[in-house]
């Protein structure tokens, strides 16, 4: 693995990932993982923290590509480094004591990664609220919604899974659940916004 595979240029990576090519994503992940791992380890992090930060960084990059809103003004490597650097700084600040000082070993440029991270943070917050709302939704609504929206199961399969007599029943149940979820989600989301 890793060797003998087609190697992509940055543009090809972006195009392939936009198409949903998981092999390209895997290869990109492997390509830059050592760099971030090294960076985090050099800056008082552990191996596990390095993995976490890198996965978050790749996630930001990946979601930008899937949205089609990525404007890459530099190499992917530089972009990832900037994002992960920022993320790690935040973690360090949370851990305190070491906040601020960081050893750079890659050229660190302003890559627009900062704004992307702001957007990503907002999205994280929304997802966290959604997870919270789903938790408070209760069964069987939660499994039904998760099955349909998160796990991409068909209505047919859900009908049999949950033992409804027909698909229409399941659908009606799903809509009712959706209305309850909506109330939970928007109340807590708005509440958070008013902070």
């Amino acid at each position: 693995m890793g060797k003998g595979q087609p190697s992509y240029t940055d543009e090809e990576f972006v195009a392939a990932i936009r198409r949903g090519d998981d092999r390209a994503l895997a290869q990109l992940y492997r390509l830059h993982q050592p760099m971030i791992s090294h960076f985090v380890l050099q800056n008082s992090g552990t191996e596990d923290e390095a993995k976490d930060v890198y996965q978050e960084g790749v996630m930001v990059f990946y979601e930008k590509i899937r949205e089609g809103s990525l404007e890459l003004s530099c190499q992917i490597k530089t972009y990832l480094y900037a994002v992960c650097r920022r993320l790690w700084l935040k973690r360090l600040a949370e851990k305190t004591r070491f906040g601020g000082r960081i050893d750079d070993h890659e050229p660190f440029l302003e890559t627009g990664a900062e704004e992307d991270l702001m957007v990503a943070e907002e999205r994280d917050r929304r997802f966290a609220t959604m997870a919270e709302a789903l938790n408070r939704l209760g069964e069987p609504c939660r499994s039904l919604i998760e099955g349909f929206y998160l796990l991409d199961k068909s209505m047919q399969q859900l009908t049999t899974d949950f033992g409804y007599t027909n698909a229409d029943n399941a659908k009606n149940q799903k809509y009712k659940c959706l209305v309850r979820l909506k109330k939970l989600f928007f109340t807590s989301y708005k509440e958070e916004e008013s902070y």
Binding site: Y29, Q33, K51, E63, F127, Y149, K171, L178
Partner: protein, 386 residues
């Protein structure tokens, strides 16, 4: 009346595109006309959009985790592969939990540790260096800036030996047994006719034995009788069977103080030969205002210490002691009045017998060379063996 759930069914059908054309047109018209309805639709859109995005996020996270897990798997696959090649278990590859934690700590903090170590190292070195400097400065008995004038013979010894060799070669005789030249030397002069001498305390400081040598290199053993560290004075007595007495001393000791501008001179042994120097009495206090000393403008050198300081009329007015390192020809000499006080108190205590000091000065009125000719028999080299 439609419930909210019914609306959601409608919206979803519209989103997926399952709604028949007339119903779709009806819905779009209503969206444009009814703001409440439009808001409800927007909320539905946001909710399902977020749900879908959340689903994607979870899927991507799973993918990334899988990739990472695969990489970790490869790593652990490679690691245990090694023992099979070497046929022997490699203990280095199996790292205990504590060791791994230690390694993580090391890799994370090694820069800090390095800085701390070098700071500690520098601090230790600086302290050692500082202490060494301090000790070197303390070794001199006098204050900073004050240089005592006893001479280190070690340096001259080498030349002496070379000269001896040369002379011996000319003579053609065997080299004489090497004499211990002594480590330091200074000057001393006669105090009484029966074998008491005066020199500076710092000349004989730390001495094991003392040797007095006159200008003809006739040596006598001597021992210190009394020392006065504060005024840098030492009184010696010759203990030698060869010694028969100095003869009558030509100078007298002045009990009072001398005046500024008095012409003064000294005789001493800064080298192997007797050296004369003169100048004036330039102040009635010594280094840092010490009133036990005169300041004199005589160029003195190491070896001059303990030499007699005489005025124009041949009165002994002081004992040469040292000079100031950072000033031009500022030398210092202990006042003879302090020497007299010391001798008087010793006489009173009767320590080491009575002191019969010379009463008359036979040098007065004589020319300088005549004075010196008579003086030179009473000035000696004091050699110190440690």
């Amino acid at each position: 009346m439609m419930t909210e759930a019914d609306y959601y069914a409608l919206f979803e059908a519209y989103r997926v595109g399952q709604l028949p054309a007339p119903a779709r047109a009806d819905l779009e018209r209503r969206l444009a006309a009814d703001p409440d309805f439009a808001l409800r639709f927007a909320e539905f859109e946001e909710l399902t959009g977020t749900l879908n995005a959340y689903g994607h996020r979870m899927a991507t996270r799973r993918k990334l985790r899988a990739i990472q897990a695969e990489m970790d798997q490869e790593q652990t696959d490679i690691a245990p592969a090694a023992p099979f090649e070497t046929q022997a278990p490699q203990p280095m590859l199996r790292i205990s939990r504590t060791e791994r934690r230690l390694r993580e700590f090391w890799s994370a903090h090694r820069a800090t540790v390095a800085v701390a170590a070098s700071v500690a190292f520098l601090a230790v070195m600086a302290t050692l260096f500082g202490v060494e400097l301090w000790r070197a400065s303390v070794k001199q008995p006098s204050l900073y800036g004050y240089t005592v004038l006893r001479r280190e013979v070690e340096r001259i010894k080498r030349n002496q030996r070379a000269m001896n060799r040369a002379i011996n070669q000319i003579d053609g005789t065997k080299p004489a047994e090497e004499v211990n030249q002594g480590k330091f030397s200074g000057t001393g002069f006669a105090l009484t006719a029966d074998g008491y001498l005066v020199t500076s305390y710092h000349v004989i400081q730390g001495a094991d034995s003392l040797l007095i040598e006159d200008k003809n290199h006739q040596g006598y053993h001597a021992e210190p009788v009394f020392t006065d560290v504060a005024h840098d004075l030492a009184i010696l007595r010759i203990r030698d069977r060869k010694f028969t007495g100095f003869g009558r001393l030509p100078y007298a000791f002045k009990r009072g103080q001398s005046d500024l501008g008095e012409k003064v001179y000294t005789l001493g042994y800064p080298r192997e030969d007797l050296v004369y120097n003169d100048g004036s009495l330039s102040a009635r206090s010594g280094f840092e205002g010490d009133t036990a000393f005169y300041q004199i403008s005589i160029p003195v050198n190491p070896g001059n210490s303990g030499g007699p300081l005489l005025d124009d009329r041949g009165n002994l007015i002081g004992v040469v002691s040292g000079r100031q390192a950072d000033a031009q020809s500022a030398a210092f000499a202990t006042k003879s009045s302090y020497l007299m006080k010391l001798v008087d108190s010793l006489s009173a205590a009767n320590a080491g017998g009575a002191y019969r000091l010379p009463r008359t000065n036979v040098l007065a009125g004589a020319s300088r060379p005549q004075q010196l000719r008579r003086l030179q028999d009473f000035v000696f080299v004091v050699k110190v063996y440690e």
